[in-house]
Amino acid sequence: EPEVTQTPSHQVTQMGQEVILRCVPISNHLYFYWYRQILGQKVEFLVSFYNNEISEKSEIFDDQFSVERPDGSNFTLKIRSTKLEDSAMYFCASSVGGSGIGTQYFGPGTRLTVL
């Protein structure tokens, strides 16, 4: 069964450093998402991406964050200058359809630890 994959599984970085989290969505999916889950808290939406554009973003997704689909298979989340409060599990998801259509399938997550 096809699945969303994410690398690395765990990333440790120093505060102020840039990190790039990588995701390979399911191959025939067209809509891509990033969510995060701070330890012990709920999963929160960050951004959705379709046709090489951000289609929706939350208030969490400020100028420190960016997303990119650099090639036909990868989808990345970049945090320019990490803060301690960015420590969280980051989940990538993908779906066939967007705007309320299509199930979102989640990857296993990347645990980001900012020291």
């Binding site: 969303v4 709920k42 999963v43 939406f45 705007s99 309320g100 979102q104 989640f106 296993p108 997550g109």
Partner: protein, 112 residues
């Protein structure tokens, strides 16, 4: 308005018992209510979902009950098994929105 409130935070059930997790929402524009199951080290996986035009949906041992007037919905796990031990999230989404809004999760433990 955008919140989904979930209870209890944690739940312990004997094997063979019924596990019940409850959720409530405020925003009447929500029209899709999924439940996600998350095992340690894994991402949330869609378990079952319902739209507000039905009051109940059953898939195997899992049932969603939906009360539109009360703006509440719940997950029932019948004949709970140790393999059901996981964190369960209720969620909601508005039509034409991309984002899924999650509840805070319920950590379920089924005693063998």
């Amino acid at each position: 308005q955008q919140q989904v409130k979930q209870s209890p935070q944690s739940l312990i059930v004997q094997k063979g018992g019924i596990s019940i997790i409850n959720c409530a929402y405020e925003n009447t524009a929500f029209d899709y209510f999924p439940w996600y199951q998350q095992f340690p080290g894994k991402g949330p996986a869609l378990l079952i979902a319902i739209r507000p035009d039905v009051s109940e949906k059953k898939e195997g041992r899992f049932t969603i009950s939906f009360n539109k007037s009360a703006k509440q919905f719940s997950l029932h796990i019948m004949d709970s098994q140790p393999g059901d031990s996981a964190t369960y999230f209720c969620a909601a989404r508005r039509n034409r929105d991309d984002k899924i809004i999650f509840g805070k999760g319920t950590r379920l433990h089924i005693l063998p």
